[in-house]
């Protein structure tokens, strides 16, 4: 009975981070590691949502300006800034966030679709929202953070 319930309502773990005042969650299974902010080398001609590249143990990883992607004003990095290395459909990329918070467990039934009052493309990477400890957590679908064209663009950097 409980197995059935679990199958119907699977439990997922989410890594949460802050951008500005809002708290976001990403699927823990897609997070490879969390790095302290280190120098990011700019890439000439890169799109504006790309901060640059870092060397991760011999591999070049592109770092995304998450604030830019989410339409938020830019902010100077500080001690709390982190680069979260994630895997999205065979692409390893880094996302710069203001700070990383914790890992939380959520049942699928706790996640509700977020309203989209913008155009078709706006915030399509927002998987849903859930309420935790009197604050709303915005869940991000990392596979939709970049479009196919943008992923192809990153490959060519």
């Amino acid at each position: 009975m409980s197995e059935d319930t679990n199958q119907n309502d699977p439990l997922m773990q989410w890594v949460t981070f802050y951008l500005g005042d809002e708290k976001y969650g990403i699927n823990v299974m897609q997070v490879q590691e969390v790095l302290r902010y280190s120098e990011i080398a700019p890439v000439p001609g890169a799109p504006n949502y790309v901060l640059g590249i870092i060397n991760l143990r011999g591999n070049v990883v592109t770092v995304i300006d998450t604030r830019n992607r989410f339409g938020l004003p830019s902010k100077e990095t500080d001690d709390a800034s982190r680069v979260v290395i994630i895997e999205t459909e065979n692409h390893i990329i880094g996302i710069l966030v203001d700070s990383v918070a914790e890992v939380v467990e959520l049942k699928a039934s706790e996640i509700e679709t977020a309203p989209n009052v913008g155009n078709e493309d706006s915030s399509k990477y927002i998987q849903g929202v859930t309420s935790r400890e009197n604050e709303l957590l915005i869940l991000v679908d990392l596979n939709k953070l970049l479009s196919e064209d943008e992923k192809a663009e990153l490959d060519m950097l």
């Binding site: 309203p115 009052v117 913008g118 078709e120």
Partner: protein, 234 residues
């Protein structure tokens, strides 16, 4: 021959004036102040060619049809029939008066669930329009909080407001419990009868603006037309 033409011209002029008067009487209330003034009918300068055509039986038969069609088009295209007015506008209704910036607006109470004090922050969803302030959990519902200033005054004027320096004070929650209209304050509750309102029946632009309270010059809004349609249902 000339006197016959003169008589015909006089008849046409009288006919058009009568029709003009008829439509003005019939639509007068609907048109007052809402529709761009119609072009004036030139009663003195009918070209002779038109005068000659009128007495012909075929044209004389077609004339009323053309007029009917124009009136119907006008009804469908510009003037919405009273039947499409919100249901609450058909009889006396209780109204909540509230303030956005310096403007006082009225909304029927039946369209609202409750009002709350705007004393918490909202959770902003990335890449949504600037008038969508964010989400807020309120009792048993999750409401989308809307910047009434931007929705009512338009994006350019509404965005001039610095919400950090001059935050909204109250939120009107819609009857379905899904939207909150952020405003500067709830003023009072009163009753309105339909005759106290100049109803706006031509609402292609600003369909949410349904009328004006004649004495107080307060804008009556249809909140259902002001809140957006949610593409993704919660």
């Amino acid at each position: 021959m000339k006197s016959k033409q003169k008589t015909a011209t006089k008849q046409i002029v009288q006919h058009e004036q009568a029709l003009d008067l008829y439509f003005k009487n019939m639509l007068g209330d609907l048109l007052s102040g809402q529709v761009a003034p119609e072009p004036k009918v030139e009663v003195k300068t009918h070209p002779k060619s038109q005068i000659k055509r009128v007495p012909e039986p075929v044209i004389a038969k077609e004339e009323p049809k053309t007029q009917t069609r124009q009136a119907a088009t006008k009804t469908e295209g510009k003037i919405m029939p009273l039947s499409v007015m919100p249901e609450w506008s058909q009889q006396e209704f209780q109204t909540l008066f509230f303030k956005v910036d310096k403007m006082i607006l009225a909304v029927p109470l039946t369209e609202l669930l409750r009002t709350i004090t705007f004393d918490r922050s909202v959770t902003r969803i990335p890449e949504q329009p600037s008038w969508f302030m964010g989400l807020m959990d309120e009792l048993d519902s999750r409401i989308g909080v809307l910047d009434s200033g931007q929705l009512i005054f338009g994006k350019s004027r509404g965005m001039q407001r610095n919400l950090q320096e001059k935050p909204y004070q109250s939120i009107l929650i819609t009857a379905d419990g899904r939207w909150g209209m952020a405003c500067d304050g709830v003023l009072s509750i009163g009753k309105l009868t339909p005759e106290k309102v100049r109803w706006r029946t031509c609402r292609q632009r600003r369909p949410w603006l349904v009328g004006t309270v004649i004495d107080e010059l307060v804008t009556v809004i249809d909140i259902r037309k002001l809140v957006p349609y949610r593409k993704n249902e919660v």
